[in-house]
């Protein structure tokens, strides 16, 4: 077990190094002169040189990278270019709880609705219920998240008109609060956000369950005289769940991508939206900060889901 963990950890470090390096390099080669832009009308050469020195921008690239890493380890993402004096973390921290809330609820919905739906479909395989479920799931899964979001936004706009302008069309309300007002902001984005992942989980659960139901040990369970309910829930389901656990880690990746579109289309001030804005402002430290944050999150998510896998399947003990 220890061996497994250390091996994974080393791989993790490597990946994080790779990600940070790529992010850093992109910032390094980025066009434009942010110092100059920052100085605006107060431009003068001497000051520029001083500022460059202050930001460490006159050092050779490997040293800049090293500084970058050292700061990261201390959770210091540097200072924003655009809002001089505001640390990057300060800018990001407002968006974190919002994005976290959005993603968490989406993930919960995906698993809690998607998986039972898939299992149910598997038990009724090849009936009209099954075909309907799976076709709908395929369509929802195939349609890109921003199309779903636009459609949803259309519906909200219509709702807003129909209720005489009282349905909120953008923004988020208060993070982690659930009054009716807040819910109005949150329901639609969360549902749209969850939709694609939900469809994916449903299809996967169905395939997994069908595969398991075909197995010999299910036949053995029936031959033992166990009640059908027991056969399905105690024997089949436990095995069908195993591949689903690994996918949870994968879906974190989908969630991150989706966040960009959802926050953009619904104007929700989360991390992704902040990042998009900072791209427009060429505020590289913020961009780098978010990228590293998100990438590390994904990597850890995968690690956790791999660990869960070893817990759930007794055949996998160590690597």
């Amino acid at each position: 077990m220890i061996q497994f963990l250390t091996k994974r950890f080393i791989g993790l470090i490597f990946v994080i190094l790779g990600v940070t390096f790529i992010t850093f390099i992109m910032g390094y080669f980025a066009p434009g002169n942010p110092i100059r832009a920052m100085m605006g009308d107060h431009y003068n050469r001497v000051l520029e040189a001083q500022l460059r020195h202050a930001y460490g921008l006159d050092l050779p690239w490997y040293q800049q990278y090293y500084n970058f890493l050292m700061h990261l380890v201390r959770f210091d993402f540097g200072t924003s270019f655009k809002y001089a004096n505001r640390p990057v973390w300060d800018i990001l921290k407002d968006g974190v709880p919002i994005s976290a809330e959005l993603s968490l609820w989406a993930l919960i919905l995906q698993v809690v609705i998607g998986v039972p739906l898939g299992i149910f479909s598997a038990l009724k395989a090849n009936t009209w219920v099954d075909t309907l479920n799976m076709t709908v799931a395929l369509v929802i899964y195939a349609i890109p998240v921003f199309i779903l979001a636009v459609t949803a936004q259309l519906i909200i706009v219509w709702l807003d008109k129909a209720t005489g302008g009282s349905w909120p069309v953008s923004q988020w309300g208060t993070p982690w609060a659930y009054s009716w007002d807040d819910l109005q902001y949150k329901i639609v984005p969360i549902i749209v956000y969850a939709a694609a992942g939900l469809a994916y989980f449903a299809r996967l659960a169905r395939t997994s369950m069908l595969e398991v139901l075909r197995q010999d040990y299910v036949r053995t369970a029936r031959a033992k005289g166990l009640h059908e309910r027991v056969v399905i829930y105690r024997h089949a389901l436990r095995n069908a769940m195993i591949p689903l656990v690994t996918v949870i880690g994968l879906s974190i990746g989908f969630l991150v991508t989706g966040a960009f579109f959802i926050e953009y289309i619904f104007s929700i001030p989360g991390i992704a939206k902040i990042t998009l804005d900072s791209i427009n402002n060429l505020d590289y430290p913020v961009i780098q900060g978010t990228t590293v944050l998100l990438a590390v999150g994904v990597v850890f998510g995968n690690l956790i889901s791999d660990l869960l896998y070893t817990v759930v399947d007794p055949r996998i003990k160590t690597e």
């Binding site: 197995q215 029936r222 033992k224 166990l226 007794p314």
Partner: protein, 325 residues
């Protein structure tokens, strides 16, 4: 008749596929007495497994269906029973073990649990502790060493032979009257085969369990069974006590089977004697005797009329042939 533990009369099990109806078991009748071991032999596709699955009613119902006949177990027709009644019978009165021990056990549950689960299902008054104890007892009985510790292990930690023994333990945990074994040793090494068969024989004698042993291996039958049914293309073509099958086989197919076994004492350079031809297409079975196209002794009558199982005047031996040996 209370004398027969199992009485199968005119069983027909068909499979409905896109290309037509496959008559996997077509009018099969046999009996098993209490404590008796019946061997069912035949090549792949002859219907022996389907017969076994029909008795315990585990035929997948689309696409299969038991379309006719009756299966009387302890006097009552199984085909009339409800699903609940059937699940009461399975595992406690009729048990079954299958061919591939590598996939027949649930990988995420301990083997102790999988045995105890059967006990708890069928003996409502038994506590968890007692069920677990019984599981360990059974593991001892099937000679799994260090049973107490190994009961907490998972199937993937056992070899094929040991897994099959676990299957036997599960099957016999509630002391069934009838054990159906579908090719239990086919997937095992020859040496392990012998051990497992010995075990089955010993246990069935000790507990008085009747056994229906399905196999394609005549050698297996010779060592363990008292009575043998030979099946071909969904019919029983010969039925006899084991000695007579080997010493005086009646049906040409049985004769062919026995002759095709390579012998250590045959002359060098002599050729093997397989039965030529292919088994018939079950979608379109031939009229008349199903073996006739390949039979060295076929006559016109064989191609027209299908022979029923008939006595050949040698005690209990019966063959479905107009011109038996």
């Amino acid at each position: 008749m209370a004398e027969n533990l199992l009485e199968v009369n005119n069983l027909k099990t068909y499979f409905y596929s896109r290309n037509g109806v496959i008559k996997a078991v077509d009018d099969v009748s046999f009996t098993i007495k209490a404590g008796e071991t019946l061997g069912v032999v035949g090549e792949s596709g002859c219907g022996k497994s389907v017969t076994a699955l029909s008795v315990i009613r585990l035929i997948a119902t689309p696409p299969g269906k038991i379309v006719g006949g009756e299966i009387k177990f302890e006097g009552e027709d199984i085909l009339e029973k409800s699903n609940d009644e059937l699940s009461d019978i399975r595992g406690s009165k009729i048990s079954m073990i299958f061919q591939d021990p590598m996939t027949s056990l649930n990988p995420v549950l301990t083997i102790g649990y999988q045995i105890a689960e059967t006990v708890k299902r069928h003996r409502k008054d038994v506590s968890n502790d007692q069920a677990w104890k019984r599981a360990i007892e059974m593991l001892d009985l099937v000679r799994i060493p260090d049973a107490k510790r190994r009961a907490k292990s998972y199937p993937h930690e056992f070899s094929g032979g040991m897994r099959q023994r676990v299957m036997i333990a599960i099957a016999l945990a509630c002391n069934p009257q009838l054990l159906i074994a579908d090719e239990p040793t086919t997937a095992l090494d020859v040496t392990i085969q012998a051990q497992v068969l010995e075990l089955m024989k010993g246990l069935s004698q000790e507990f008085g369990t009747a056994v229906m042993l399905i196999t394609h291996d005549l050698g297996v039958v010779a060592g363990t069974c008292q009575f043998v049914n030979v099946m071909y293309a969904g019919h029983i073509v010969e039925s006899a006590p084991v000695k007579q099958i080997f010493e005086t086989p009646a049906h040409p197919y049985t004769v062919g089977l026995l002759q095709s076994i390579p012998r250590v004492d045959s002359l060098r350079g002599s050729r093997l004697n397989p039965i030529g031809g292919q088994p018939p297409d079950l979608l379109n079975p031939p009229k008349g005797c199903p073996y006739a196209p390949r039979c060295p002794k076929k006559q016109n009558r064989c191609l027209e009329e299908r022979p029923e199982l008939m006595s050949v005047d040698r005690g209990k031996q019966m063959a479905a042939c107009f011109y038996p040996n």
